[in-house]
Structure formats: structure tokens, C-alpha cells
Amino acid sequence: MTMETTRAGTTVAPASRALDVIGGDLTERSLRRYLEGIPGVDAVGLEARAAALGTRSIKTTSKAWALDTIIRLTDLTTLEGADTPGKVRSLVAKAMVPDPDDMSTPRVAAVCVYGDMVPHAVEALGSAHDDGAPGRINVAAVATAFPSGRASRSVKLSDTSDAVAAGADEIDMVIDRGAFLSGRYGQVFDEIVAVKEACKRPDGTYAHLKVILETGELNTYDNVRRASWLGILAGGDFIKTSTGKVTPAATLPVTLSMLEVVRDWHRLTGEKIGVKPAGGIRASKDAIKYLVTVAETVGEEWLQPDLFRFGASSLLNDVLLQRQKLTSGRYSGPAYVTID
């Protein structure tokens, strides 16, 4: 009991967003009260809404635009224990020229790799590496003992700062789901704030921080919504569904509920937070449902790489096949897209 009380009164890191919105002495208790005061989610209603959005029929010119947009919003990803510098170089080549038979194909937003592969990705990208100009490609690194997040705070922080030092533009961190599920919101919060600080570069700028909620382990939409608020309050630039290593990964209802939080945050503060569904989106048809959901929930202006990403590996090839079909009028086949 005493321990509980002590913990509840503990102050948490004074992240500026949380101070603005929650105000006063930012403590475990005030954070918990805030998160628990958020209206609940009705699972049946949420899933019905997601299913309804999934019935939009996107044809002809809309489809062509949607396919190109999916490519522009993709974080082309390889996150395998078996990754090699060669595999990363191949991924980068694909990111720069997704379809060698059609040079009008846009480039992807970023390549997403493990921290130790960042130098190889940066090197392979060369002048295509992001300098803020359009068409440049970011390097995103997963960090903080991805995917489980089971390591000490100091390991997670150095994992992050190493990747940033190696040239990563974006950090995809995982939250401590164990702490979250046992109600230690302050601990999760503090960790996000600390990782955000570890994203700081010597020149004072920050690598973009994507906060992975691992919604497949959070189990309820109420938890997803609470974790989304937590990630944003602590300073995340993006909230991301999943690592891709846990089933279920991204689903449309989960993404919809995160987009609703982002919409509400924008209404509250005017600030735009990004959303990244990752894992499990393999078909163009499914990806288009996400675009529809984004456009009809937060607005079309979210369909740009700063505010929406797909974390995917095999999706790109399906989009390319669909794109070829729209151009040529017939379906080709897997032999007409490159594997990486």
C-alpha cells in the first residue's frame, strides 16, 4: 500500500507536451488520471466503422494516385537476424528504383533496418540520403532492444544514440509493454522521454521518433488508445502499431483508433502527429483501405511521408504489379518485379 502511494506520487519526466495538456506537477498519478479519463472504445462499433471504410471502391484515376502514394509512404523494411550488408544494399537499390522498367515510379519514404545496418544503408544511399529535398530517402533504425524491449534502460538508450550517430534519420522504438500492462505508465512515459533525448544530434536537432505500441500485445482497443496518448504526450513524432514480430500486427481497426487519437490531438493542440501501421499489410487492396481510413478520419493532408507511413516489405511488389496492370491493362506476374 505504502509502495503504491509512493509510486503514485512519483514525478515523471517534465515533457513539454504533457505539461501543456495535463499541467501542474506531472506525476504518475496525474498521468494515470489523465489516461484513464479518456473516453472508452466500443470494440464492435470501431470494427464496424473500419469495415465500412474498407468497402470504399477506389477505381481508375483514384487507384493510380493511391498506388503511387502507397509507394511514397512506404518504409521499405528488412528486420531479420540474417540481414547482411549485401541484403541492405539490395534493399536500398530497390528503394531508389522500385521498378526498373518504369522510371516514373516514385521512391519510397525510407528504408527501415536494425541499428547495426544503418552505416550500410547510409553508404548505399549516398546522395539519395535525405537532406530534406523531395525524393530523398530516410534511414530508419529500430532501437531500444527491438522487438521485445527487454533490456536495461541504458542499453536501450545507447542502442538509440548509436543508430543516430551512424546517420539514422528516424528511430523506431518499442514501449515497455510489461510496464504498460501492469499500469506503470510513468515508467513507460519516462522511457519514451529519455529515448527522445537520445535522438538528439550534436547540432541540437533530433532524429524523428516513432513509438511502437505493439498493439498485438496490448489486447484491447482501450489500451491502444491509452498507449497512443501516452506516446504522444511523451514526445513521439509518430505512433506505430507493431514490430511485425507479433501476431496480430497492424489491423485496420487498431490503426483507425490510433488515427482518432491523432485527430483529437490535432484538435486539442494544432499539432500533427504521424501514424505508421506496420506488419501484415501485403496487398495493395489492403493498403488502399488504410489510405481511405486516413483521409476520412484525419484528412487528406495526412497522406504525406511526414505524417503517415506503411511499415512493409512485401507490399511494395504487389503495388508494383498493380501499377503495371494499370499502365499496361494486363496482369504480369511475380517474375516481373524484383526480389530483394
Binding site: P39, G40, V44, S57
Partner: protein, 485 residues
């Protein structure tokens, strides 16, 4: 480009194989009517679809005679299992021809194809499947050991869910062993006539179902016919009253499903985004032309502004237009007269001091259209809070306590539907218990299922459709031995 201006995705009307002229469906075949033929048009374009025969008194009599003969000679003698086989066959044919029926419904009624495709037609099939199962289980309907059918049922249905209302009427009637003469609404006869073709395909014995098209006088001839045993009507309260009057003192059994002014109650602990969806579904589904529409929003004062703001944002994403486009959310109003009533009542709403709001939307120049509309600052005494508008018009009122919400929700001559939105299960039960409405939805709205009885309190009518209770409307207990009925 603007992604949200989705490129047109029209469902093709080429799938339809319509005739230029349709007769009455009597005794298993199409015959010309003796009344003056009328045309049915598409409310979205005002274009002619087909010419339809009108049944006069003589035609109605022919239909009732055919139904009587089929009842005496065939249908009442057939085993329940065999009646069930026909109903199952009809259900399967509806599924097979679902796409065609959906297109015809949207064309004739003006409702979005996504609704006719995903709601109306699947429910039609579900209704026939459900009642097919009842046909050989009448002794379990709760009406004694061997309930009997009534005879010839006269059924008059509205235009808002043309084929679905037909299914609600015909499926239980046939399962119970009655034969039917049905009159579809004047503005939406098309799918009933396609359904007649399905009955031919199903080889249903001649005369078991007869469909007579026409306007009010045809309906009046039908319900007043001396040889019908049962009258079932869905439509306006005014017509329902007339029917109640004219059947009073006869042995005709009567069920009425009439108007409504449903209250959708949103408490401050509601799952807010889903509640907003439910409000939208409650009043803009089928352009609000739903008798059980949630046309009065009762929202707790503390969250009023937030809910209205979210509602307005959501309404701005509704797509109004071509009913056959798969992305259309709100289609055309069924007829010029309905549109006139919506305009009139909305103008009165403004005059009475309510604040009117609609999202920006370009309405087509041809056809009958009304934008999704919400009124705020509405008082319980305003006509838009009392009269059934039967259109995409929502009146927003507030309350402070659950007791006030219940009092306001019940403060209407109607009593068909209500909705409750709260995260608290105990509150759902406590409030639902006190609402005088035939259907109370909790954290959802406008959900229908053949197993669930549907019907009204007070001026919303009497009798239930759906479920076991729906069978009661078409059955009578067998008189015990020695008692003369």
C-alpha cells in the same frame, strides 16, 4: 488531385433485365390490371423505369379469390416441412440474384447501393431462411400444441425498404401456412415484381402469393376486402388509423407498424467516436427514411459541444449523390412529396428558432435531394422534435440527468425505437427498462435480425415482426375440443 473526390465507381444497371411493362401477379402469372397504369421512376434522375399496372377493386378481388383457393386447396394442406422447402428455395434464389435485386432497389428507391447490397438484400434472404425454419415447428411458437394459420393475409408495405418489408410480411405468413395478397408502395413496385419472377422460378404453387400494384385506393380495396382474415400494414400513422377504423368490428386480425420519433440518448461516458458513428447511422441511414430512425439526439449537456463538433466533422465526409455509385453514403429522397415535407418541416424548425446546419455538398440538379441536416438549440416543444420528418434531419436536444433523458425520450406519441450510448452496462439495463419503445439499441443503432422482434408502443402501432413473436401475428391457437370458435 483530391483523393477524397473518389473517381466514380458505379454499379452497372446493365445487369438488370427489366420489362417495359409489368402486370399484376395473380395466381402465379402476370396479368394486366384494370386500373390506370402508372410509371415508376428513379428518384435520383426522375427517369422512367417501367410502366406498372394498377389493380382496381375487381383485380383485388381476383387476387383474393386466387389466394383463398390456394389456401384451401394447397397451402394449408401442405406439411410444414414442405412449406419450409419453398421458403428455403426462395431464400437461395434471393441470394443468387442478390446483385440484380440490389441494383433494382437502388434504382427504384434511391437508396445507396452499398445499403441495398450490404443491408437490404442480405436481410431479405436472412428473413426467408429464418422463417423457413419455423414452418415445421409451429407447435413451438408458444401458441399451444397445434396452432393454425389464419387464411388469406392482406399486406400493405411502404417504399423505404421495399423488398425487405415484403420479406418481413411474406416470410412469416407463408411459414405459418397463410396465403398472401401484397401491395407494394406506389413509388417502389420494382423489386416486388422481380420477386414475383423469383416465385415463378421457385415454382411456388399458383395463388399462394399475389402481388397487386397500385396506389392508396388499391391498398384500401385490399384491406377492406371481406374475404381476408389478416391485415398487416407498415406505413404512416395516419393510414394506420384508417385501417384500424375500417377493420374494427370485423374478424380480421390486424398488425400495424407505423411511424416513430426515436430518441438516441448519449451519456457523458459513452464511447464517443462510436456514438458519433451510431448517431450518423441512426439518422442518415437510408436518408433518414426509416420509421425507427434516431431522429432525436438526446445528448448529456456536459458533452454537447464536443459531440456536435465531432458530428459536424463526420457529416462533412458523407458523400451524397448517385445511388448506384459504390461510394455513395446518402442517396436520393424517394419522392417529390417526401422532399416537400422535409423542406417544410425544416423551414418550420428554423422559424421556431433552431439552428440549422448542413455540410457543404453539391446536390444533383435532377431528382429529389436533401442534404444531411442537423438542428441544434432544439426544444422539446418544437415541431422538428415532435413530428416525424422521415428524412436526413436530426434534432439535437440536451439533458442533465438520466431521469430527464428518460422523460424526454418517452415524451412522444410514438414509441418505436431508442438508443442508449454509455460505457456502463448497469445504466444500459436501467434506462432500457424505462424506455417506452419497442426496440432499444445499446451502443449501436438500426441493427436488424430476423430472430429479433420489432414493433411499436403507442402510436407506433401494435404487433411484432421478427422472431417467434412475428409468428404469432399469423397464427391462432387451436380451439380446444367442444368449444366453438
Amino acid at each position: 488531385m483530391n483523393f477524397l473526390d473518389y473517381a466514380p465507381a458505379p454499379e452497372s444497371a446493365a445487369i438488370l433485365n427489366l420489362r417495359d411493362e409489368y402486370g399484376l401477379f395473380i395466381n402465379g402469372e402476370f396479368v394486366p390490371g384494370n386500373g390506370e397504369s402508372f410509371t415508376t421512376i428513379s428518384p435520383a434522375t426522375e427517369k422512367h423505369i417501367a410502366t406498372v399496372s394498377c389493380a382496381n377493386e375487381q383485380d383485388v378481388d381476383t387476387a383474393v379469390v386466387a389466394a383463398r383457393r390456394a389456401y384451401e386447396k394447397t397451402w394449408s394442406r401442405m406439411s410444414g416441412a414442405d412449406r419450409g422447402k419453398y421458403l428455403f428455395r426462395i431464400a437461395r434464389l434471393v441470394q443468387e440474384r442478390a446483385r440484380e435485386l440490389a441494383v433494382a432497389e437502388s434504382l427504384d428507391n434511391g437508396k445507396p447501393i452499398k445499403e441495398s447490397r450490404d443491408v437490404d438484400i442480405p436481410l431479405v434472404a436472412a428473413w426467408f431462411f429464418y422463417y423457413a425454419g419455423w414452418a415445421d415447428k409451429l407447435e413451438y411458437a408458444g401458441m399451444g400444441p397445434n396452432p393454425r394459420s389464419l387464411g388469406v393475409a392482406a399486406q400493405v408495405i411502404p417504399w423505404n425498404f421495399p423488398l425487405l418489408m415484403l420479406a418481413w410480411k411474406i416470410a412469416p405468413a407463408l411459414a405459418a401456412g397463410n396465403t398472401v395478397v401484397l401491395k407494394p408502395a406506389e413509388t417502389t413496385p420494382l423489386t416486388a415484381l422481380l420477386f414475383a419472377e423469383i416465385l415463378q422460378q421457385a415454382d411456388l404453387p399458383a395463388g399462394v402469393v399475389n402481388i397487386v400494384t397500385g396506389a392508396g385506393s388499391t391498398g384500401s380495396a385490399l384491406v377492406n376486402h371481406a374475404d381476408v382474415n389478416k391485415v398487416a400494414f407498415t406505413g404512416s400513422t395516419a393510414v394506420g388509423r384508417q385501417i384500424a377504423r375500417s377493420t374494427a368490428g370485423t374478424s380480421k386480425k390486424l398488425t400495424l407498424e407505423l411511424g416513430g420519433k426515436g430518441a438516441n440518448i448519449v451519456f457523458d461516458d459513452a464511447p464517443i467516436d462510436q456514438a458519433v458513428e451510431g448517431i450518423v447511422n441512426g439518422i442518415f441511414f437510408n436518408q433518414g427514411q426509416v420509421c425507427c430512425a434516431g431522429s432525436r439526439l438526446l445528448v448529456q449537456e456536459s458533452i454537447h459541444d464536443d459531440v456536435v463538433e465531432r458530428l459536424k466533422a463526420r457529416l462533412s465526409t458523407l458523400r451524397v449523390g448517385d445511388p448506384l455509385d459504390k461510394n455513395t453514403d446518402v442517396g436520393a429522397i424517394n419522392s417529390a412529396s417526401q422532399l416537400g415535407r422535409m423542406r417544410e418541416l425544416s423551414d418550420i424548425g428554423e422559424q421556431e428558432g433552431s439552428e440549422r446546419w448542413s455540410p457543404a455538398c453539391n446536390l444533383p440538379s435532377e431528382g429529389f435531394w436533401f442534404p444531411p441536416t442537423i438542428f441544434t438549440n432544439v426544444s422539446t416543444s418544437h415541431r422538428i422534435a415532435r413530428d416525424e420528418i422521415f428524412g436526413p434531419v436530426l434534432s439535437v436536444l440536451t439533458f442533465r440527468t438520466p431521469a430527464e433523458a428518460i422523460a424526454k425520450a418517452n415524451n412522444t406519441p410514438y414509441g418505436l425505437s431508442a438508443g442508449i450510448w454509455t460505457d456502463k452496462g448497469s445504466r444500459i439495463l436501467a434506462v432500457a427498462d424505462k424506455l417506452r419503445a419497442g426496440v432499444v439499441w445499446a451502443n449501436t443503432f438500426n441493427k436488424f435480425d430476423p430472430a429479433s422482434p420489432f414493433g411499436g408502443y403507442k402510436e407506433s402501432g401494435y404487433g411484432r415482426e421478427g422472431g417467434k413473436q412475428g409468428m404469432h401475428a399469423y397464427l391462432a391457437p387451436t380451439a380446444s375440443k367442444g368449444v366453438n370458435r
